[in-house]
Symmetry: C2
Subunit: 338 residues, 2 copies
């Protein structure tokens, strides 16, 4: 049985949509047991009882606008998020799913679950829209503002294990985000990372990838530092927002267009949903000793179920165990990877 | 009379679309004289004769895929691009408009026209789509991979002069691209730039802007380093491409949607055009002693005319002269700006 901890109080629509998402997952996956951390009375209002679901009372939620998550998480042990992460640290659960605030999730993963020995930095890895039948991982997108090339290599290795174990792609193709495709492009960081990636036998290195190929590159994984990665995915978000505004403006300009829109309402709805990347699941925190999946803050039941499905796959794939073996082998023989 | 040098051989559709763009501009603006640098015979095929247009024979074009623009520009003085830039350096023309390759344009601006005394770095500043009736400048997007906060401040000052002089916005609002809105976010570069911008009286500083607000921020100008800026605008480009693919996929899924599409064909065409940012003009190179406007490589006549219109406005606004005065004042009194 796979054991998942659920932060039932995290996100804008908690606990109702979170619990409804769990209800859907209980039906769909008979190999998962859930522990819901949250306000018991509230949860019971929405929960379809099952012998695979239990509740641990934790009525306090980490605010979505929390300014100082480090202090709050350190001092308030009653938060549903803290208790859910603690269950993973204590090995009562294999993974945790939350729709709480991103910074809080990274902090809790770091401080409560803790890094895998040998893993130097964690990485945040979001769900990206599926384009051309392919979804890609981009990391790090914000766990580290400053990073070294060897950290980026570990991220590439972790993501390769994850993709091969959860998507059945034997040798996932790894690209390096950069401002040009030729070797030698970018800052010192990219140049050094390129050299390191090229020599490493445990990843299948493709070369540099420009963000204009973000959704068309053959790569399964795109590696970058947390600052550039954050700029990249927030630019995607900003553009998606602009697309909505421009389309609305253009449709408003012509009568024919308005008629066309009536025929295409569902198409635009699907389009919007796909652009959000929600169908792929949540963002993952790579590098800690357990699976951490963050569903987006405004998650509804279906989105949260996707995030649960994603966590389930990662636990089943024994991604963390595989990475631990890698890292302990690396310690024994520091030359294995180069 | 405003005097513009035109690189008639630059871009994928040169010289035909470039010359046709000039024909349109000759009709529209009676205060501009053009010198076309390119293959005389070829140009004459498309040019509508006018006493405000002359041709300087320069049959060689800088290849759009040029790998080593520095060497090529230094050694080949017969290139249409080199001759057009030389005319600006020699003060025969006030500005140059080209659809040649970006790196070549930056190199030529640097090496031939040269920086304004006191200006420490040039910046590349592209045309961004108009959203909500507003177009914004983002810079630098690729002239510098490494940059210091004081360079970013000069870019902010230059862009402020440009926007106030060409768009009539008295105190353009300047934002700093960052991964969060609160002061103290980002790397050391952003933290130092924030402090510098805040103290500077010659710009109207708004604060940090996340790229997810790229098209909705009240800012007129968004300042960043060349690496992050390049990642940002290429992410916009990649997303726009993905939007096209996803929309096509979604439209293909339903019969109703295909009907709707028939009504909306023109809307989608307008949408695509607006997303390209072509209507705003070209990318500008700020910091050199003359106006440099780069129209996109695949420019057609109308796009090139927009880029000419943009160069005309910048020359009329005496943007370079204003910035020169600023910088010489700064030299006289190093305290004026802080």
């Amino acid at each position: 049985m796979i054991k998942l901890a659920i932060d039932a109080m995290g996100g804008d629509n908690a606990p109702s949509e979170i619990v409804k998402g769990v209800n859907l997952a209980v039906k769909e996956f008979d190999d998962v047991e859930f522990t819901l951390f949250g306000d018991e009375e509230q949860i019971k209002k929405y929960l379809v009882p099952s012998n695979r679901v239990k509740i641990v009372h934790a009525p306090e939620a980490l605010s979505m606008g929390e300014k100082d998550p480090i202090r709050t998480i350190r001092t308030n042990k009653e938060l549903s998020l803290v208790k859910a992460f603690q269950a993973v640290h204590d090995k009562e659960c294999d993974g945790v799913v939350t729709a709480g605030p991103t910074q809080g999730v990274i902090v809790a993963a770091h401080m409560i679950i803790r890094r895998i020995p040998g893993m130097q930095r964690v990485a945040l890895c979001p769900a990206m829209p599926v384009v051309g039948g392919k979804s890609r991982l981009v990391l790090d997108v914000g766990a580290n503002t400053d990073i070294r090339p060897e950290h980026m290599l570990q991220h590439a290795q972790f993501a390769s294990v994850y993709v091969s174990k959860t998507r059945g792609i034997e040798k996932p193709l790894v690209g390096l985000l950069n401002i040009g495709t030729e070797p030698g492009k970018g800052r010192e960081l990219e140049k050094e990372a390129f050299a390191l990636f090229e020599k490493c036998e445990s990843i299948n290195f493709y070369g540099n990838v420009e963000p204009k190929e973000l959704f068309t590159t053959p790569c399964d994984i795109i590696i970058t530092d947390g600052y550039s990665g954050n700029i990249c995915i927030k630019s995607v978000e900003g553009t998606a927002k602009a697309v909505g505004i421009i389309l609305k403006e253009e449709i408003g300009k012509s009568f024919f267009s308005k008629i066309g829109y009536l025929f295409m309402r569902k198409t635009f709805k699907n389009f919007k949903y796909r652009m959000s990347g929600a169908e792929v699941g949540g963002a993952l925190v790579f590098g800690v000793d357990g699976i951490v999946t963050k569903s987006h803050g405004s998650s509804e039941a279906m989105d949260f179920k996707f995030a649960i499905a994603q966590a389930r796959k990662a636990v089943k794939g024994e991604v963390v165990e595989m990475m631990k073996t890698y890292l302990s082998l690396e310690e024994q023989n520091n030359e294995w990877r180069i």
